[in-house]
Symmetry: C2
Subunit: 224 residues, 2 copies
DNA sequence: CCGTATCCAATAAGATACTG
DNA sequence: CAGTATCTTATTGGATACGG
């Protein structure tokens, strides 16, 4: 029975290939399945657990997540690893090549967001919002600015740094930053992109830095 | 009956949305369906007819092509237009915003092609091969080079220009170029990327320019 | 809690034939 | 040529149950 399934699956994979030497077609074979790019996105700031992925991809079912992770693994984009003791939990992490898809995904998102269909009121994950900052950061608005900005988004911590007109972000302890935003990712998105007042998130530390910070991420103009 | 179908389709679209404000998720809703990016790719050098698209997307079925074109149109990526007389045939063309996806698609292809799964022996369309040149062009190898290179790929003509370390290409009459490559796209791909001898394609004009030209497109190193 | 396995209903894709 | 219509097959997601 299992063998039958494997056979069937292989046949499907063969059938569903594009048989096209174009890199775009290959990309679709690698990460073209439903949910696959979003799973990869969630790994762009470091390893995550199955349940975290599930929580940050609302709508995906456990079996589809299992399947996608398996496919991404066999294609060399994701690795299944064990976190060092004492945690010793199993996590999924993007391979170096998988991580190299990040700039492409950011460019794709930046392109798509010009659609009139973009609805900023929907759910966003912590990773999404951090990636969006990397994507939308406008160096010209950060002239002369530098500082470390911490984020506590649900259970994940990040630290961003602005210096010399560059923006960088990685996971880390937000507490050793000049200012810390704490809240759900959607609230931070509201402040950054929805014109919501700073008060809807918890801000501790250098409040004037926070006020300036939230102006650095202009959305591209809509088409249509 | 038609009304029923429309209702059903809308429900599906709602169900299959990601409900995620992330730009990547939106991109998937716009061009995430099977074949959609390849359909758009085929329009990146100008309008095409239904039958051309079908021919250059081997494996797509007519009904799926119809459906994708309709979806891309309603999402603002593609327009259905009439070619000016005397041709007066119906064609599909990318909108300006659709065309802006081109650099993203090139970056995606460049990333994907590093996979050990890439098989350069498969079918390539004329548009694919022209896009691949834009993607893989290495300015440092074109030092001091300039010239116009024509392509007659199946029924499509293109003219590329190299000047000051830049590469540009558009559809046009290849005959007023310094050298012209004529053949099937796959043969040109073999010469550019597969190390095949120049002789497998038809080259007319400045042969030494052709010899230099085919060295300008290095493939990125494989992962793994 | 971390997944995996299985079954089911709904849809999407594929193959093929056919029409204006 | 430019698509529709129809039928079959494959994939998806949801529910549920199960093993470590």
């Amino acid at each position: 029975m299992k063998l039958q399934k494997l056979t069937k699956q292989r046949k499907n994979e063969e059938k569903r290939r594009y048989e096209d030497a174009c890199g775009v077609a290959l990309a679709l074979e690698l990460i073209g399945e439903r949910w696959a790019p979003l799973v990869l996105r969630e790994l762009m700031f470091g390893p995550r657990r199955f349940s975290e992925l599930r929580a940050d991809l609302p709508g995906i079912s456990a079996n589809v997540l299992t399947q996608r992770l398996g496919e991404l693994e066999e294609r060399g984009l994701v690795r299944k690893t064990q976190l060092p003791p004492p945690a010793s939990v199993q996590v999924y992490e993007a391979t170096p090549w998988g991580l190299e898809a990040a700039p492409v995904m950011r460019a794709l998102g930046k392109w798509a967001v010009r659609s009139p269909r973009h609805n900023p009121g929907q759910f966003v994950s912590a990773v999404s919002i951090m990636m969006s900052m990397q994507t939308m950061f406008d160096a010209s608005r950060a002239e002369g600015l530098s500082g470390r900005i911490g984020f506590r988004l649900g259970s994940l911590g990040f630290v961003a740094e602005i210096r010399d007109g560059t923006f960088s972000a990685q996971r880390g302890d937000p507490d050793d930053a000049d200012v810390v935003f704490t809240g759900e990712p959607g609230q931070v998105a509201g402040v950054l992109y929805g014109g919501a007042p700073l008060e809807i998130v918890d801000v501790t530390g250098d409040r004037s830095l926070a006020k300036r910070f939230v102006t650095l991420f202009p959305l591209p103009p809509k088409v249509d």
